[in-house]
Subunit: 467 residues, 2 copies
Amino acid sequence: MDATQTVPAHGDTLIATVMASVRQRITSRSLTPGMRLPSIRALATSMGISKSTVVEAYERLAAEGVIRSRPGSGFYVAAPMAPLSLSEIGPRLDREVDPLWISRQSLDAGDTMLKPGCGWLPASWMPHEALRRGLRSLSRAADATLADYGTPLGLRPLRELLARRMGGHNIAAGPEQIMLTESGTQAIDLICRYMLDAGDTVLVDDPCYFNFHALLRAHRARVVSVPYGPDGPDIGQLATVLEEHRPRLYLTNSGIHNPTGASLSPVTAHRLLKLAEQHDLIIVEDDIFADFELTPAPRLAAFDGLERVIAIGSFSKTLSASLRCGYIAAKPEWIEGLVDLRIATSFGGSHFAEALVQAVLTDGGYRKHLEGLRTRLARAMAETAVRLEETGIVPWLMPQAGMFLWCRLPAGADAGKVARHALSEGIVLAPGNAFSLSQTAHGFMRFNVAQSGDARIYRMLKAALSG
Amino acid sequence: MDATQTVPAHGDTLIATVMASVRQRITSRSLTPGMRLPSIRALATSMGISKSTVVEAYERLAAEGVIRSRPGSGFYVAAPMAPLSLSEIGPRLDREVDPLWISRQSLDAGDTMLKPGCGWLPASWMPHEALRRGLRSLSRAADATLADYGTPLGLRPLRELLARRMGGHNIAAGPEQIMLTESGTQAIDLICRYMLDAGDTVLVDDPCYFNFHALLRAHRARVVSVPYGPDGPDIGQLATVLEEHRPRLYLTNSGIHNPTGASLSPVTAHRLLKLAEQHDLIIVEDDIFADFELTPAPRLAAFDGLERVIAIGSFSKTLSASLRCGYIAAKPEWIEGLVDLRIATSFGGSHFAEALVQAVLTDGGYRKHLEGLRTRLARAMAETAVRLEETGIVPWLMPQAGMFLWCRLPAGADAGKVARHALSEGIVLAPGNAFSLSQTAHGFMRFNVAQSGDARIYRMLKAALSG
């Protein structure tokens, strides 16, 4: 016996005995993953020991990851999968770069906060006059529009309109191939639920929209990434990742990429699709920035003919985020399964939101609003780039359109630290690593040019970067 | 060698060889559950056989359940869990009693169909004047209401109002303990995602709201049930089920039970909660029929103080199903986790729908509307009961309020058959077994009294029951 070993106190021996007994029962499979352990009271009684000894043993086993506690329930044998507390799944991120934290900060931020890190336009930039007209006309709509559930696929005239819009991007999708959803996020969520088994691998871009990470954690998916360059994903690395990890799904934006503002080139699109076919990869193409584009970029869904590409979108960026309405266009057999899943998990859609989106999209003022919006964004982008450069922050790429500038901080600066400092001054930023699976974007930051007009942002940045 | 054994043709031998080789690789764990099998082309090449031989071998293994095919992807080793095609999970039900099928029929039914089987009021019974007023007032609301995402918990004034409403049922829930959702169904879905691991067991009433079955299939939960009587669940059987199956969650309605119209008695509520405490059972109390009640039934959430009971509700039954808005009231640490999960899977809520619900709930006309609605429902219930009895269909119980009559068909009649016949005449019914996990309700049918005024329904029933 090692002379330096501490002789355990009596309490510690008892605790060790309880721990050994639990471990033995797990090894012998009399307790299997997911099974509840005996209650503290029951075990204490049966072993003739105090409850506090059992509590301590269980807590030590939980700290080791052998068992885990569940709120209001007790202790369970740790399963291969963790319970769905998002903050416990995956690598524990610093609050500053935790996708969920940034979303919550942005959504919760009152009017006094500045939000250059958020992912949407200020309310004053949205087509409120068309929305107000839409509401007034809805107030005279049929009772059914006001009170009934939507149909399983959603309002037909809106699906017809979407089919025509997609036709404009050379995507051939009939209205029967389009299902309306309650948001773009819900669209992706439904597709993941439909397509993924637990443990399946999903491919994302690095960097990518940060909520993809939170969403995929909720699905307990394995996530792998491919670097995203000015023309789209790095095709060489994509081939390697597909070979090594066999992902089932690839989540990407192709119109205007979030956060980089890059656009997929036709040659990259073509190569990407060839690889996807070779590796039976299904692609979810999130097209929520389509209405910002000046010159439409190629769409994977157009090249592929909705064979293995699923196109999704929503209206939260250009029409209203308050009105929840998105869509999925996919091959008919997938739409069929998705409709079942949607009824099971959210029942009917919002007839109401669908009718209002339809009203605004067909309102003569909406097209004019979009034209004005594109001009306004282009001006804000140019101005923001100049003002950022004065603080030493340089765009990685000047996007052809959209609201995001993906920027490199001066050498040595850490975006997480800058974000923390900013928050203390009432400014929500979006530091690079929130977008990066590989956590290699600590020197980057995404700016929303429509939310970056206030001089306090640049004063804060100067101070943080010089400090 | 058995002389009766058929000597396999050459093709069959090759197929058997491929099958044996796949089985061997699964047994040896070189292929594990969820892994993709080699592509048909690759395996054919490597074994020097034709692709059609591999196809046949894979298809036979799939028929045996050893492997399974996935749309657009290939063949996979069958996992303990099936892929999320709802129609493939669980016992294959006849279309007539498949919960999803009834929902889809009801949601899809045009104005020419009669829907005594559906779960909502006709649009003309809803408070459309209050909704129209609400829309007109929203058309003058601030830009943020029209265009911004909702906050993570949802519109505070609406949460305050809900807190007061719950206070009226003796449920003490502060606005910080209430999260708005996009529907009652989404509320349950989020709770299941938060609370359940795959394979966890969930308890439901038999009979219960049929979409619970579809929802729980989507979660791949094991489902067990307890018979529901005139005073609530059968407490004796509940104790046995808890002991044997250790369910994690219990999904129930307690205001007015769907489909039976029964109300929980205080003594059953008390016993149920004691058992729940003993077995660490979490209860989800779905209270969407609260506004129909004349005399409030006891609420589990009131007795329990939101310790292990989670209260959920929505406005789709009394206000509008077109406006998607529901809520969850639970203990603060659960709300915290649910907010994260909701942002990850549907991002912001509908500021818009929340503001409109708030406007209608505080509209002076809404209370008057509800009073009129209760009277109208009581009259329709009495009339429907009389008309049904003329066809030999008898209510199992006369509910104190609400829109449902759970009825027994004449001896020997099969509700599934009657429903099939009805559909051929353009009438959507809700046969008992759609609500019954044990499939013991083939002699029952749920009628929505607000949708049962048309004489054609009774003519059809008479014909179907005499035929």
